[in-house]
Symmetry: C2
Subunit: 414 residues, 2 copies
């Protein structure tokens, strides 16, 4: 019967596949498995009690408004709070520059909808965030991948890629998903100058910026863009659209994120969002505002930093203790992930199966490259936010067994 | 600066305009105005207390899960509850046929994304739901409008339109927005047979089906499709995709709706939803499940029916008492809206301004026709769910002043 529907699918849906990660996660939900696969925040730091108080307050004092339809732009006090919060990082936006979205994934979808015509090329880091590739794929994006190293995107390799005329650049400067690397301040300046030189705008995705465990805060691209390029102008948010979220600082289950952009871009995004889902849950916006207000968010972020730093350190220590010397990994200064590189010739898919036999899981690197590039074949992404330190140590021990086996197999083969 | 962005907007965003309704609503939020403009449920029937209890229960017992990422398909107990509820109307779906969406607007967006290539023609009722036009416009839809009368879509006029080969039909059979009319059972059978004859699938949008204030329930198209056409088969949901929502029975601010479709269509929609917003708020799904369970939803719907029936009756009575005899209106058997038709030559936009001067608002009919057709020029949509009966009476009195003035003006002009 459904052939009737199938024959009617639009062109854009051809080749859209279910996320590899989603499929992997199904396998790894067995309780005996220690999973470094997902990108899940630690549920033990969700501020559940504070949510309960906020729900009570919102429903008892503003129930009629919080359960009613709301504006597409978002709940005004929440937009204002976000504008105030990001002002501390030098982003001089007002509430009018802020659009509340149903998670950052919707921000990426709306941006794809707004900017991508079929065949447009998007410059991305290689590796990059899988969810962005999924969002942009729907609109027929092609990709110009540029490699990253420990200091982020290799800006010195950018010129030829920018000359190819990408529609925009999509960059995660802080503790990038999946690699965990951070774009250095020097390269940020260089990137902004190049963006200006070639007139190529930037989408700056910053879900983890507040989760820094060591080193100094580096100004976001959206701020450097203003300082470096438009020092003489009155303030406009110009070449850079900035994205962030409450998913990693409050909870992902409320699906609340935001876009910071010039007002006329916001107004176009509002039209697209209205057609996409009318508006983000009024109730969740009221509740998040009540949870975050009066300094709670800052205080809570401190707790998360402390917990995740300990987990990152546990993973780094365990990798050091158990992993063979041929294998290297990044040292993330924040965020949720680190990135392991195995010797040339390692097949991370085969390793994935071997690891599963040891009851430990990760995501194989090839997911994070456009067109499932083979560049990812010897990498794995490890999440350290979701497991307790002792689980992390045991999981890395198990993984090391699989890795060593795999390296021996390789050796035999070569 | 933002010219940089503007020059990069994708083709699909050209011609996407902000909703007329949204703009109108801004004007009508002044407290002295009685507004029949929005499509808002009555906040006085929101089950606020029950929401409070549900939030408390969910957070204290399942906080870690409810605030975490969830599956794209939706919270399994909620999907199962929906499957059980719709089974009572003869829709023999399982949870696997149900996809939870972020409001019905997202269902329409995902359907547009799945099915519409630029230039595809969609058969719609004229007038039809504005939000569907907005969702489909993004994907470059063209329209084949077919008029409605008091018994809904004029199926006897369908043959030539179906021969023109629309991609699908979009139909609201119950208490249609904006007209309030209901597709008769006879025409439903005819529609199903025609859909089968021409192989044109149907999107059945049913947000108000449970809000019937008089007359007998009529089986949904998705059920008739199965009974009439596929009686000999094992059960498949075939030619019809069915949409409904909790917005009108629980609260719109939680943004929860659902799509019922064959499993392979659901699986494709899941991929598109994953790219669009990952999943609908886990928290809201847990809470809605707790609110609705143990028969509460049914009981609550009875209360809503009682309240809205009274308001509809107040509006019908006031129209009868105040409006001149040249003006006619529909008699909706349920839902939130009725549709007023003024004599040929009336300009509903001019009337709208005249009404605003009398401190009363409505939505002019032309919004509800594809390409803002002039067919709508002498119609207005009136919402009766949001105002109290005495406000409704006073609002209709004020509106009658503007209408009579307008009719006099017309008379002078002609």
């Amino acid at each position: 019967m459904s052939t009737l529907w199938k024959s009617r699918y639009a062109q854009r849906t051809l080749g859209i596949k279910s996320s590899a990660i989603r499929e992997l996660l199904k396998v790894t939900q067995r309780p005996e498995i220690i999973s470094f696969g997902g990108g899940l925040p630690a549920p033990d730091v969700f501020p559940v009690k504070r949510f309960e108080e906020a729900c009570h307050k919102v429903l008892s004092e503003q129930g009629a408004q919080a359960l009613q339809y709301g504006t597409t732009e978002g709940y005004q006090p929440l937009r204002e709070m976000i504008a105030r919060n990001i002002a501390r990082y030098g982003i001089l936006a007002t509430a009018d520059n802020v659009l509340i979205t149903s998670g950052s994934q919707q921000a990426l979808d709306l941006i794809g909808k707004l900017l991508i015509n079929r065949g447009d090329r998007i410059l991305v880091e290689a590796p990059t965030y899988l969810g962005a590739l999924q969002a942009f794929n729907v609109y027929g994006a092609q990709y110009v991948p540029v490699p990253v190293d420990e200091d982020g995107l290799l800006t010195e390799q950018l010129d030829p890629s920018l000359r190819a005329g990408p529609k925009f650049m999509y960059v995660l400067p802080n503790f990038q998903n999946p690699s965990g690397v951070t774009l250095s301040e020097g390269r940020r300046h260089q990137l902004i100058l190049l963006a200006d030189k070639y007139g190529i705008p930037i989408i700056e995705d910053d879900p983890y910026g507040q989760l820094r465990y060591e080193g100094e805060h580096i100004p976001p691209l959206v701020v450097l863009d203003w300082e470096n390029v438009r020092r003489d102008n009155t303030f406009t948010i110009g070449n850079v659209i900035y994205l962030s979220t409450f998913s990693k600082t409050l909870a992902p289950g409320i699906r609340l994120a935001w876009i910071v952009a010039p007002e006329d871009v916001i107004s176009k995004l509002v039209q697209l969002k209205q057609a996409a889902d009318l508006h983000t849950s009024t109730f969740n916006q009221y509740v998040a505002y009540e949870v975050a207000r009066d300094g709670f968010l800052d205080q809570h972020v401190k707790l998360i930093r402390q917990v995740y730093r300990e987990r990152r350190d546990a993973m780094l220590q365990a990798l050091h203790d158990y992993f063979p010397h041929e294998v290297t990994w990044t040292h993330p200064k924040g965020g949720l992930f680190l990135w392991v590189t195995m010797p040339e010739g390692t097949d991370s898919q085969a390793l994935w199966h071997a690891a599963l036999a040891e009851n430990v899981a990760f995501v194989a690197g090839d997911c994070f490259y456009p067109n499932n590039g083979h560049e990812g074949g010897r990498h794995m992404r490890l999440n350290f936010s979701h497991s307790q330190p002792e689980q992390i140590r045991e999981g890395i021990r198990r993984l090391s067994v699989a890795v060593k086996m795999q390296l021996r197999t390789n050796h035999v083969i070569h």
